[in-house]
């Protein structure tokens, strides 16, 4: 029963993180038209967690929930992810806006996270 409780706590935390990111989308929507910078640092906070965002000219939004990190690392991470995203986006079989299911993409993003974050 204590194992079940622990599992429930982990799941609850994952949902909370999703909730924080979704809540920050409203902030990004307003910010995106007031500045043309792609990298929007610390657009939102929740306790000791911070949301940083990268918005492309095409208004694709990369959201990162993190604790305190180097801004340069986060920016470089976003720039590399943007390049990966464009490769997916240019695939004529990928429907813009749909979920990216490529395991190759997932592997690459995780590798970039380990390298820059």
């Amino acid at each position: 029963s204590s194992d079940i409780h622990l599992l429930w706590q982990k799941e609850d935390l994952a949902y909370q993180h999703q909730f924080i990111l979704h809540a920050a989308l409203d902030v990004v929507q307003d910010l995106a038209w007031s500045t043309n910078a792609m990298f929007l640092k610390s657009v939102d906070r929740f306790n000791d967690l911070v949301v940083s965002v990268y918005v492309t000219a095409g208004h694709a939004r990369f959201m990162l929930l993190h604790d305190s990190r180097s801004e340069d690392g986060i920016k470089s991470f976003f720039q590399e992810v943007h390049e990966l995203y464009i490769k997916i986006f240019l695939n004529p079989l990928y429907l813009p806006g749909s979920r990216i299911t490529s395991s190759h993409f997932d592997t690459k993003v995780r590798a970039l996270a380990r390298r820059y974050l």
Partner: protein, 175 residues
């Protein structure tokens, strides 16, 4: 990201697309063929802007986005910039290309056509040549609309080819 495709291959694919939809899939329904060709252009334009704006900050107003299409986007696709940009300052822009690359090898001279084809009325041949050309232009119209939509601007795009090989694209922004 730096890979390139031979221009003759692009020309061939575009011609074949028009031929397939107008002469094959929707032979009896030119309106459907036009919409399908425009939709293909829309997706191409939508995706290309994401790629060409990779290093670029976002555009803060419509004119900046239109200028990007006239300069950088056009140079990437057609190796030259738009020659003339006009606007009525009420949401309509006219982009004029005096030598539109995709039309420079399209012949619409009825007298030339009729010399090759026997037992055909030159007026009919001229009309069908103009029809083919206008079908071909639905593709760049879709490209422009897709590009601008990706940059946050909803619009409709039509082409004016009354002065070949010059071509004007009329962009009407929706509010």
């Amino acid at each position: 990201m730096g890979r390139e495709v031979a221009e003759s291959c692009v020309d061939g694919v575009v011609m074949q697309m028009v031929a397939a939809y107008c002469g094959g899939f929707y032979a009896a329904k030119p309106e459907l063929a036009a919409r399908r060709i425009e939709a293909i252009g829309f997706q191409v334009g939508h995706q290309l802007t994401e790629r060409y704006t990779m290093e670029r900050p976002r555009f803060s107003d419509h004119l900046e986005a239109i200028k990007f299409i006239c300069k950088d986007f056009w140079s990437e696709l057609f190796k030259k910039q738009i020659d003339n940009l006009k606007t009525n300052h009420r949401g309509t822009f006219v982009l004029q290309d005096n030598h539109f690359r995709w039309l420079t090898r399209v012949s619409v001279d009825p007298s030339v056509e009729s010399m090759d084809a026997t037992e055909n009325d030159s007026t009919t041949l001229g009309d069908s040549a103009a029809q083919t050309t206008s079908m071909l232009l639905y593709f760049p119209c879709g490209i422009i609309r897709g590009a601008l939509t990706n940059l946050g601007i909803s619009c409709s795009v039509t082409a004016d080819m009354s002065n070949l090989p010059a071509c004007s694209f009329v962009v009407r922004i929706k509010t």
